[in-house]
Symmetry: D2
Subunit: 331 residues, 4 copies
Amino acid sequence: MIDTALFGAGRIGKIHAANLARLPDMRLKYVVDSHAPAARELAAVHGAEACSAEQALDDPAVRAVVIASSTDTHAELILAAAARGKAIFCEKPVDLELERARQCARAVATAGVPCLIGFQRRYDPTFAALKARLAAGEIGAPEMLIVTSRDPGAPPLDYIRRSGGIFKDMLIHDFDICRWILDDEVVSVHASASALSDPAIAAAGDADSTAVTLRTRQGRLCQINTSRRAAYGYDQRFEVLGSRGMLQAGNHRPTEVTAYGERAVAADLPEPFFLERYRQAYAAEMAHFLEVMRDGAAPRTTVEDGVRALELADAATRSWRLGRVVELDQV
Amino acid sequence: MIDTALFGAGRIGKIHAANLARLPDMRLKYVVDSHAPAARELAAVHGAEACSAEQALDDPAVRAVVIASSTDTHAELILAAAARGKAIFCEKPVDLELERARQCARAVATAGVPCLIGFQRRYDPTFAALKARLAAGEIGAPEMLIVTSRDPGAPPLDYIRRSGGIFKDMLIHDFDICRWILDDEVVSVHASASALSDPAIAAAGDADSTAVTLRTRQGRLCQINTSRRAAYGYDQRFEVLGSRGMLQAGNHRPTEVTAYGERAVAADLPEPFFLERYRQAYAAEMAHFLEVMRDGAAPRTTVEDGVRALELADAATRSWRLGRVVELDQV
Amino acid sequence: MIDTALFGAGRIGKIHAANLARLPDMRLKYVVDSHAPAARELAAVHGAEACSAEQALDDPAVRAVVIASSTDTHAELILAAAARGKAIFCEKPVDLELERARQCARAVATAGVPCLIGFQRRYDPTFAALKARLAAGEIGAPEMLIVTSRDPGAPPLDYIRRSGGIFKDMLIHDFDICRWILDDEVVSVHASASALSDPAIAAAGDADSTAVTLRTRQGRLCQINTSRRAAYGYDQRFEVLGSRGMLQAGNHRPTEVTAYGERAVAADLPEPFFLERYRQAYAAEMAHFLEVMRDGAAPRTTVEDGVRALELADAATRSWRLGRVVELDQV
Amino acid sequence: MIDTALFGAGRIGKIHAANLARLPDMRLKYVVDSHAPAARELAAVHGAEACSAEQALDDPAVRAVVIASSTDTHAELILAAAARGKAIFCEKPVDLELERARQCARAVATAGVPCLIGFQRRYDPTFAALKARLAAGEIGAPEMLIVTSRDPGAPPLDYIRRSGGIFKDMLIHDFDICRWILDDEVVSVHASASALSDPAIAAAGDADSTAVTLRTRQGRLCQINTSRRAAYGYDQRFEVLGSRGMLQAGNHRPTEVTAYGERAVAADLPEPFFLERYRQAYAAEMAHFLEVMRDGAAPRTTVEDGVRALELADAATRSWRLGRVVELDQV
């Protein structure tokens, strides 16, 4: 039984707690949240204890931490947990500052602990099946990747101001998809962006619509298009063109009802947002965290993946601001 | 906390036990199975106790029973549980003999206990959404219902011989769908059937392919087509034609991957069989059982529904054997 | 160059004339219509001559006739054309009276002329491709056929009264599909029907909704469901279950636009009615008529097919009226 | 009756000739081709006369010319036809040299003749329906456009060497789609490209895969992805995200057959190539040419559109070669 401490009792923290509860070999021991009532409430649901960060980190019985607190606390918690030899699961991004994220990666390497970053899309049944079929050679060598990633609506301005910008907040997932699916590293980035849905977003120095092109070492091309506002829901698709065919990952729908009316044939909208769309993925990533700790499985989403995605987000932000292509210096 | 006894530790018993375990207000106290090791194993998983039927039934703390044992035990357990005032959930069919099923219905009515029959399809998200939209008038008055219901492969001959025949074993679900969707009672049945996949099925006096037409009091028409063998998986669809449109309930797929190859555009096969297809439905029906007991909700699938579906299965069997239309004497 | 006479300058006559005009080896010489202005107008479009039936039939230069006039004139024109040794294309049905249709078949056989019946669905690209793939063994042996055939709206009552009833007027096409797709003959028919859209249809002794089950010599089952009124357009689908899979023929749509709105994902309705849905089929059947005449190709839809479909329509009508299964005496 | 001269008796010339033949008010008088037998053969099919370019241009009875000859002859023929006051239909591109294309545009303006450029996609039923629905406000203001445009296979190297490069040869259509759909002008272009399918293409100084981002005056973003080789056929899709929804234009398929096999559910591949995919579009654009001449309709695809698309192709080529964003100086 692996005693676990959860940092963050918000929306995503609750999901991790519930998924953890279903795993026979993990036990939620502590819930930590700067808002004490939230910690107590979530702890009560799962028979855990609300406590301070120090208490949770300093308890040697705690072998695993799940970091689902606000972004500005990620790095500190990773460093503290790594220093104490605990296995780490941390929501993306590692940090908004690239240098700080790299520091975390070095600390994790030094400590020799597993550190999974919450790129939950890699665990989605549709995306994972596509990746497996691509790896099995079904469409030959991949040549192009087109990623569509649109949210149903923009978050509050206050959130946007603290988010690090659309590239670090939203596209970081899409950058990870590109690296994962193409199994290749990016050499140059071009990003264009606009604020079309709300002038306040532009006033805050951010954008709500982006069009990004990545070029990989092997000359593969990847295009990402995103929007903060898709009136029809949460749109998460990608397609890979290979030398012998194409694989598409489509949206999931709540039901398979089709209505033939007097004006159109209508199907369900996509799942409304990430909590519904990635419900299975969140459960699978927590199960994977257990596999890593218990069985020594190789982590599927490492802190290094987190750093690389952040590098791309940084490069894209610069490309957009400067209006030119940005080269990545590959190690 | 409602203490519950589960009868039957087989495939479907395990599913009910797991769904029960997730409900905060229900507790699995006993598992009963004629094969003792199976009972012990399942009881161990959920912290319950394996015991005899008598012990479980005679424990006054047990307020609910879930009957997932073999068909020939259903009626006896229903009668015993009803006599003791326990709430009942029982898998379909109530019994293979119509008279015996009616006896159960009377006993349940006399005892005043809730008795839900496991027509889990009514709880499927797709089917339930269709029903709700139909009830909301989206396509006007329903006029025709076409039900496609095909299994991926025939069960063992031994099972078939004890099954009561394809109409009682397989179509009983489809008859329930017809009554539920059309909200109307059947006045006549015509059934045609063949054994096309395996001569041994014919030799056993049964069929593997059926074509049934039902006519309701209001003159609505319903066609059901079934097969014991769909090479492509478990095919569960229906469509309702109404005066202002049509609603279709389609199959569910494991993933939303689409492959464009050199010969075709390919999507996933439907979910392979009922355990996968109706995973959500099984969870929802157990949650509904709790609602009925705890909140006094009206049962969505009653023992009366079980009797009516059996009447239709009987009528269809006679229609097929006699080669003629069979009228139902409606009360 | 094959000189051709067209009987009937109505909607379907105009289509045949236009398709004929595109065939390099056929020439429309005469147009005959009891309504003289219609004949003159259509003749003018195509550089043909309006004339009487006698003149067209008695001109030895006319080697082919296309009969698209009202049903009650079909038999007489077939007999007259066969007697003069002309190749015949005739719209369905051969006649409303089975004995009269059989008389036509005998006359055609005696004369040794080709006589194609206008079961245009056999020439539809989707239906023909499905048939070819079935014949190539793609899904093994066919076992069940489900036919959905719905019109967008009922014709005028006046038409219905002269139509011979829904089974002869509308289902005759579906009966032909069953014989063609299953390549098997029917041994028994059960038909149920209702008038649900308009009481005046019932008052006229007809129905607007039918549910038919056919059983073939080889024990295959076929279900047909039809309606005179599908609010969403012209619905023409069928599916064949075989021992190794299933083939579905779906509707055609005017465009491939998909709209993601705030409430649903919407695609085009099916093509509105038969003129649009079977545009390509009409062209292909006229081209086939030429192949038969010029190249000696075997006719794909013979007068015998017309007789057989009428037998089924007769049997279905009787089954509905008598409320019982009707056996067909197969030769 | 408008006498017309056709330049070019190749694949696309034959299509224009056949579509022209169906228009009652146009008559193909001359066919011109540097390969005389091709001209004679096509002329014979349509009752026209093979002749020299001079004869066709100098015949004052010829009021319209259709230019479907090789690209290097377009400008000269446009200039000659404009000088003689003839209405012009010319395949894309106007010319490979932007300055020469602009010269044609000026000549056409001076002559006051209509000059349609063969951007046939604007006439495609699916694309035109999408444009109309967008214009009607169905999804609010357009914000992003994603264009997928892939050929089934690369043309011969010899063709590629004379093609002007993939941006002028292939993407010119996509650039036109962007301007047409967004109804906005482009201010900057970024293009990335690779030769992934065949090293000989790289050796010829060209690419076979491109990823292009356009930014419009109003800040809208457009991404185009293209490939010379899609193993699954001709892939022509685009989607527009608007403030209130999204419209997608999908591929057309030869048939609507769906096969449920033991491994997948399979639908038809897209139409194999442009001749099949745009059959209806080619007919519609020739009908529109007649409308313009006979009824004075405003041309839907002008020589100015041809110049603008070429500007974008030039800019994209430069962007790719220089590895930087290229600004367009908008007039």
